[in-house]
């Protein structure tokens, strides 16, 4: 195994470059597929760290400019908030 493949791409869910390349090679060639099968983008940072790294991997694989690789769907919340703080309408 190449050393670079052990690089952590998604640090929220500990997903390596090797895992990402493996899934891309299996035919999952968009961020949403990879998210569902590897959990990239599902952690506390919501894809802010791995998003553009994976976009670049997909661009290399598909041989298209990185701007043409669709970014992942961003969902609320923009940061983690305790359920209790919302229920009680208090500030943390």
């Amino acid at each position: 195994m190449k050393k670079e493949n052990q690089v952590i791409i998604c640090r929220c869910e500990d997903v390596t470059l090797e895992q990402i390349r493996e899934k891309i090679n299996e035919g999952y060639t968009n961020f949403e597929d990879l998210k569902r099968l590897l959990r990239v983008g599902m952690g506390p940072c919501q894809g802010n760290t791995c998003g553009h790294l994976i976009q670049r991997e997909l661009a290399n694989f598909l041989k298209i400019p990185v701007e043409q690789v669709k970014t992942h769907k961003s969902r609320p919340l923009t940061m983690g908030v305790p359920l209790k703080a919302i229920a009680e309408e208090t500030n943390e």
Binding site: D33, L83, A87
Partner: protein
């Protein structure tokens, strides 16, 4: 033009299961079309729960036999990854006297069908989930063999098994029209191509009604947004799914460690909206903190929505139709298509191949609505 023996519309868990069951029985030339990416519809948005505690006989039977499949699915489908199936139960809370009485009847029905559910006193329920607020319910029912299953992995397991048997899948390809000549299906046209076929399965989830409309079959279903959220992952603290119909909540800790929870919006419009609202977040937080205050300390990290495809009696439509030969339906699952998928695939394969059905399917037929037959209405839905 390419010719197929069957075109399935929708590559969610239902479409994938139908394709797998047919291919396993030897059917060739099956094409599955999906307008989005892998598990982009209701399957990939669901709450990942699988349960057998239902109030209608048909839903109990579908759920129980599906659960038996899930228990061996990894081996049966020869899936290399983990489907994250765990049977740590569903604890369903009764919060009113009416529910308490209804649940006794439900358990009796479930037991008569071989489902090992039981009624629990408040004290017994607190032993199963100690962090429940004792003032938030009066009694409960529990079924140990209910539980959790990863929707993405389970769908991939069906998808890979079907592909291995020769089924073709096209993603990002949307069905635009279906040509019918003299009451026989001739072809299916998408945004990319036209395929000759005389058999079509409508497994389009939230879009089932629109697919029916393409061939003039009026399917009495509609799509409705159901929202859901997920917290940060923590060490395991809750085995079973906790659910209440009257308080409008389901909440479980998945094997990954996160808590997933959802509730329905009684005022949801009948459309394809799958957005997220602050009203949901607000009501969900309040309900959760009331029932399980300790879980309220966790941070929400994401919320999303997905379509329930609602049928009039909240039981599925697994059916052919005398109005159009070769047109089959697997829709109207009312939020429970994921957990019934093994039976959906099995029953539709029997229908399509003219085999003797494993169970009496008459109460799943679309005719039940036309003939205005009295069907049991499923109350146990969030």
């Amino acid at each position: 033009m390419n010719k197929y023996d069957l075109v399935i519309i929708g590559a969610g868990i239902s479409g994938a299961s139908i394709a797998y069951n047919l291919a396993k029985k030897g059917m060739k030339n099956i094409l599955v079309l999906d307008k989005g990416y892998f598990a982009s519809g209701a399957t990939g948005r669901c709450g990942a729960g699988v349960r057998q505690q239902w109030a209608t006989e048909m839903n109990c039977i579908l759920a129980k036999q599906s659960m038996e499949f899930f228990a061996h699915a990894k081996e049966t489908l020869n899936y290399p990854d983990d489907i994250e199936f765990k049977q740590e139960g569903y604890l369903i809370l009764a919060t009113t006297q009416e529910e308490h009485e209804q649940f006794k009847k439900n358990v009796k029905l479930q037991n008569s069908l071989g489902i090992p559910s039981k009624t629990c006193s408040k004290e017994e329920a607190l032993k199963i989930v100690p962090h429940l607020n004792p003032d938030s319910f009066i009694s409960a029912t529990f079924c140990q063999t209910d539980g959790h299953l990863n929707p993405f992995k389970m769908t991939e397991a069906y998808y890979l098994a079907a592909k291995h048997l020769g089924v073709e899948f096209h993603f990002f390809e949307e069905v635009k029209s279906i040509k019918v000549v003299n009451q026989i299906i001739e072809s299916v046209t998408t945004n990319k191509d036209t395929y000759l076929t005389d058999k079509v399965v409508n497994a389009a989830g939230g879009y089932s009604k629109e697919i029916g409309d393409l061939v003039g079959i009026d399917i009495p279903v509609y799509a409705e947004n159901h929202e859901i959220l997920v917290t940060e992952p923590i060490e395991k603290m809750q085995g079973p799914m906790v659910m209440s119909f009257s308080k409008n909540i389901y909440c479980q800790q998945v094997p990954h460690g996160a808590f997933i929870m959802g509730r329905s919006n009684p005022f949801a419009e009948h459309n394809h909206d799958i957005g997220s609202t602050w009203q949901f977040l607000d009501e969900m937080s309040k309900t959760l903190v009331h029932i399980m205050p300790k879980v309220g300390e966790l941070r929400v990290i994401r919320q999303w929505g997905g379509s329930y495809n609602m049928s009039p009696d909240r039981q599925p439509i697994i059916s052919d139709t005398k109005d159009l030969k070769g047109f089959y339906m697997a829709c109207g699952f009312s939020g429970h298509g994921f957990m019934f998928a093994p039976m959906t695939g099995l029953l539709l394969s029997e229908l399509i191949l003219n085999e003797k059905p494993s169970i009496d399917m008459s109460s799943l037929h679309i005719n039940r609505f036309k003939e205005n037959k009295a069907t049991a209405y499923e109350k146990s839905v969030v």
